[in-house]
């Protein structure tokens, strides 16, 4: 049993090592994305700083500081989960673009191990991006983390990561089934999740029909939970009402996504879609 787990971990590590090697080779693009992430986060934070000017009302500095952190938590947490989602949803499209899809799917690696390896590689990338963005933003803008409960925030993010891995795996099915339009469909899923999850605003400002969608988005709970943890120091027991819905999405979406992926792979093998040109 332990030997088998070690074997599968070794196989999964192949994908992590590959992703890290690709990050090094595409370093200029990675740098571009990191800078883009930093600039986006800074831009959003400056909206917070400009709140008194924009609103035309005097706002006390502590309220402004809270507003800035509110926005930063949303943008950085979304960046993290968005990367996890994108990288996993792009598994098929990326391999097709590189021309390696046939070799990856011919390899004697169980699909679960393959996807776990890709998810691990993605998390490495998302951590590098998010931590770099956070520290870069803190160079420009004072961020008050004096009340933060880091453990609660990291736990919320971990729960959200699992949920987004599941959504990413399920969305990776689209490029498998629709070689030309599948990736666009995955991006639309991501865009809708961004809109309804309260990344930059409370979901209560959304129209009622969109609020219904926010209930099923794991990001809604994760971002709200991270805000309470980092702004108000909420501990895990206080956050439980936000943890369990996100956890539930993860517990459901990972196995459902995996089953959908395997079914789509089978369909692709029947119809000849499992190849570089689709």
């Amino acid at each position: 049993m332990i030997g088998e787990v070690a074997t599968q971990a070794g196989l999964a590590y192949a994908f992590v090592e590959r992703e890290v090697a690709l990050m090094k080779r595409y370093w200029l693009w990675e740098l571009v994305w990191i800078i883009y992430g930093i600039v986006t986060s800074l831009s959003v934070a400056f909206i917070g700083i400009a709140a008194p000017v924009i609103s035309g009302n005097a706002v006390d500095p502590s309220t402004t500081s809270r507003f800035v952190l509110y926005l930063l938590v949303g943008t950085i947490a979304w960046r993290f989960m968005g990367l996890v989602f994108e990288n996993i949803a792009e598994i098929i499209a990326w391999e097709r673009w590189e021309g390696t899809i046939e070799y990856t799917f011919m390899a004697p690696v169980p699909r679960l191990t393959h996807l776990a390896g890709m998810a691990a590689g993605t998390i490495v990338r998302a951590v590098v991006f998010s931590v770099t963005t956070l520290f870069a933003v803190m160079l420009f803008i004072p961020v008050d983390l004096s009340h933060a409960n880091a453990l609660s925030a990291v736990t919320m993010l971990a729960v959200g990561t699992v949920a987004f891995m599941g959504l990413g795996i399920a969305s990776a099915v689209f490029p498998m089934l629709w070689t030309e339009k599948g990736l666009q469909m995955a991006y639309i899923v991501q865009a809708v999740v961004l809109l309804v999850s309260g990344v930059y605003y409370p979901t209560s400002v959304l129209p009622t029909w969109l609020q219904a969608l926010s209930v099923i988005s794991p990001a809604t709970y994760v971002i709200e939970g991270m805000r309470r943890a980092l702004l108000d120091g909420a501990d895990l027991s206080a956050l439980w009402p936000l943890v369990w819905p996100a956890l539930l999405v993860g517990v459901l979406s990972v196995p459902i996504g995996l089953r959908a992926f395997i079914a789509a792979e089978r369909y692709a093998k029947r119809t000849g879609r499992l190849k570089r040109s689709g």
Partner: protein, 284 residues
């Protein structure tokens, strides 16, 4: 120079030729049919192919573009599910025992498919890991195989996109050999290579079989290559295996002037470099 690969993984326990009669066959395909939907019509790419390849044999499938060679190879390599028929590899069913079959096979396609930004060595170490070869061992063996194939050590760590098409194809061949497959599927492995590279690869293929007990199924439309390498040759025409035998048998049986080209012409009515009329772009 000995090829730096492990002996082929070989058939699984219980399917050794000495223990199970049927496992003398490395590959057994029965009644393989594959249809594709194109422009609202069903097109038959492979129309009931039955073939078997014995352990240690080099079997060449000859066919024009569109004859169904690549579709058949994709079906044998688990990338395509046949509509009808069964395939066993060393007695293992390709559907029921898919993972075990994958451990026994590898494939080289006509297009060298790699992470082009990564070096040959990085690609090979990655491929090795997927087949359970430790990275340190993969590095040593990769160097030896690449040198054996004529790629200088100085090129091993360059991004693959900087290597020529021929070199990339050699790296693809090295990748397949690195995993020591018991059954190697070569889909037009020397297409696009210059004469010298072609010969190097052909010698390597033969050495791999002779020294490491590998079984090789290759598709080609290079008649010289088939004659030079193969123990047996099958001709695929419009998705059907229309004839098979040794080169000498085929030339004798079809009463031609002693060349495989004549054999091919007399069986199919066209030259091997003519496309089949019913070719589906990219599928056959």
């Amino acid at each position: 120079m000995t090829i730096a690969v492990r002996p082929a993984i070989g058939p699984p326990a219980g399917t050794d030729p000495g223990q199970a009669g049927h496992a003398r066959q490395a590959l057994e395909a029965r009644g393989i049919v594959k249809r594709f939907r194109a422009s609202g019509k069903d097109v038959v790419a492979v129309a009931g192919v039955t073939l078997s390849v014995e352990r240690g044999e080099i079997y060449a499938l000859l066919g024009a573009n569109g004859s169904g060679k690549s579709t058949l190879i994709r079906a044998l390599s688990t990338l395509l599910e046949p509509d009808e028929g069964t395939v066993t590899v060393f007695g293992l069913d390709i559907r029921k025992d898919e993972l075990a079959v994958k451990r026994l096979i590898n494939r080289v396609s006509v297009e060298a498919s790699f992470f082009k930004k990564l070096s040959a060595m990085e690609n090979l170490v990655y491929a090795g890991r997927l087949y359970g070869v430790p990275a340190s061992e993969a590095r040593i063996r990769s160097r030896q195989i690449l040198v054996r194939l004529g790629i200088a050590v100085t090129r091993h760590d360059e991004p693959l996109e900087k290597l020529s098409r021929g070199m990339q194809q050699k790296v693809a061949i090295a990748r397949a050999f690195l995993t020591s497959p018991a059954l190697l599927l070569l889909d037009e492995p020397t297409t696009g290579l210059d004469i010298r590279s072609k010969r190097e690869v052909q010698t390597f293929v033969r050495d791999l079989r002779d020294e490491h007990d590998a079984t090789i199924l290759l598709t080609t439309h290079d008649l010289d290559e088939a004659e030079r390498l193969a123990d047996r040759i099958g001709v695929l025409h419009e998705g059907r295996l229309v004839v098979e035998g040794t080169a000498a048998e085929l030339m004798g049986r079809h009463g031609t002037r002693g060349s495989l080209e004549d054999v091919f012409m007399s069986i199919t009515g066209r030259k091997i470099d003519e496309n089949e009329p019913s070719e589906i772009a990219g599928e056959r």
